[in-house]
Subunit: 439 residues, 2 copies
Amino acid sequence: MLSENRDPDRPAHPGGFLTSEAGKSDHRRAEHCVDFSVSVVLPAGGTGERTGLQTPKQYCSFLGRPLISYTVQAFERVSWIQSIVVVVAKESMDLMMDVIQRFQHRKVRVVQGGLTRHRSIWNGVLALGGEGEGESAAADRPKVVIIHDAVRPFVEEDFLYKIAMAAKEQGASGAIRPLVSTVIATTAEGYLDHSLERAKYRASEMPQGFTYDVIHQAYQRCTESDFEFGTECLHLALQYCGTNAKLIQGPPTLWKVTYKRDLAAAESMIKDSLSQSACIITGGSAHAVSLAAALQKAVGALNMELEVIPDLMGESSSYLLKEWNFIQVSVDCSCLSEVETLLRDLEAANRALLHPLVVIWVHLSCADEPSISGRKVEPDGIMELASASKLRNILLYGIQLRQSKDTERWERSVLKVAEISSTLIRERSPALVGQLLQA
Amino acid sequence: MLSENRDPDRPAHPGGFLTSEAGKSDHRRAEHCVDFSVSVVLPAGGTGERTGLQTPKQYCSFLGRPLISYTVQAFERVSWIQSIVVVVAKESMDLMMDVIQRFQHRKVRVVQGGLTRHRSIWNGVLALGGEGEGESAAADRPKVVIIHDAVRPFVEEDFLYKIAMAAKEQGASGAIRPLVSTVIATTAEGYLDHSLERAKYRASEMPQGFTYDVIHQAYQRCTESDFEFGTECLHLALQYCGTNAKLIQGPPTLWKVTYKRDLAAAESMIKDSLSQSACIITGGSAHAVSLAAALQKAVGALNMELEVIPDLMGESSSYLLKEWNFIQVSVDCSCLSEVETLLRDLEAANRALLHPLVVIWVHLSCADEPSISGRKVEPDGIMELASASKLRNILLYGIQLRQSKDTERWERSVLKVAEISSTLIRERSPALVGQLLQA
């Protein structure tokens, strides 16, 4: 279950958030040679009462996938991380097991949490150490344990590397951020007592790293009161092991999804990461190639990159594995066979497992006489195909436009295709699948 | 310019955020009898470097309107607030004047800021006090000054009332929030020194309130160093006037738009507030009334309320002034005259000044024979109308469906209209205006 072998059916880049250049994370991975064992404890027992929602926020769904799966994925894609222990409330064990199965997570073990955050983390550390499982399991215990929050899904490999290295060298390490607000002390009656000088303090964030020995000793020695009321692992390491953690400033994206507004912010970041580029398939037709070139320019102004390819054969087949968005251009052919082939290829590549894919079928009419029977697209066909694809997490939309000799008119149409495509790709709206839009 | 008289052309409720029940804020306003004068200083000189964007965040646009206009509006709609002084950087004076003119803000004066936050606020306070403008101006100085941030647009009248009352009684008051992260002190070398006990501290937020005398005296007595490096007005009131501010816990919506993710969160909150309800106009036809009733049920499940009215005559004309979203049902009539009338009424009521309005034209075919010429809707008409309306900030979309005797089929169509409408209303996407969607 904890095997590090890559599943060949699994996409090579299951969504490296905030990594805009393709291949960049591979490059980094090569640099980050970690020659000691690192595992992760992910406490996920929170009730999420501050969002004001029924569902604990780690189980809130973003594009059909719970937040915790994004966080697990953020660790899973890091090659030097051995295993991830997710600590969940008893009543959520089944739910979590279901998430792991549905989204084919590897490297993950689920452990039952305690009544407080510290008790849950301690359970996770014990599970990593193989306590109660005999000596052979104990020999597997990691050198470094990274502790993170289930509701901070956007952690990047670069930063995890810094935390792991500092933890190994110093015994403990933690992410910090500058304070956004001044911190003040209040009197018992609710008046200002004093304010802290903002520059001297930092917000303690996650992830934090510890050598196994430090975190194990800290929990073994700490009091019932620490277990009950404490929140800060760094404090325990200082108090019970004399370890002053190395503090490292993290990026703002480390923030904790806490309030309802944070759900919107997280969704927007996920959508951003999925809508940076698209692959346009021309079928080789000269009309389609010229439309693609014009679109390439137009979507550039909308902050999206477009790769133009004739088909998905040969080297181009790699786009199947690295792109979330496809635009298939059909010229004068109202049949959907090209887009059907694309949909089949995407399904075969199991590409829609983690995120909904967007496929836009662009129908370009070039014939002189308008609406020759057989060339006019009937909306029912694409609607049926889209309904079927939606069940497999592929969102299909259609756009039709007419070639025009009037340059101004043509440019307006192209711009409209670009704007509509960019909106469809950004919003990934399930309600609009199968619509045939006019450009 | 500072007159409190309401402009009759101005909508009665220019967007009371987070106030879901219509009329509720009127009710509150009656309760909040403030018998002393209150004015506001809004420092808006920040550069917004933490968002990573070129535009300072107070000028970032949300649905076509800069953030600062939302914040100004939040104060402007409070009847007992006399005047608002916006303090801006010299280079943004023209931009701010333009915002005030475009969105027809009243009660607002623009003052040039200083080099630091405290110097800017001091300039604002001096402007309120009529310093240098003779005794008559000085007599106008407010009893209480509320200081707020330009980038906290979601402040509500209820909370402003609490702040103003506490400031009048105690001399100073301020909003606080629980800390989300533990606060830690760091050593000069970047190691953990100690962590603060989270329960004893609070984050100091905005708004804050002061009697004019306290804030004036605090700034008159404070040092150059305070002006240069200080950030906390409550601290100055304590240090230089011996006033311990009353601290009041505010709602999470008071948060400060700081990072790029906060822009997405703010946009989402604005969209939420605009998409809670819609008004459906049936024209009185029995088919339309029955569709409306079915839609009412279906959008209820999507967390939206629907008011069904036959037309916008008589008492129903009040919907023109209180609703942001309209659905016009036309039965068997492919002409757009009903929706054209609605668009004219909305323009006459100047309803799209502060937010884009959404109008959805639903075309219901009930005739037995499909596509009788003249009944089939041509997409060009609605596209042209939508392009013209978009220039006036009204977003027009079309949906067509066919009455069916097959109950299951009919219910599926109705659900689709509900889903599409709810998506169009929520997203307010300019790229999709004029499209005729199929349900």
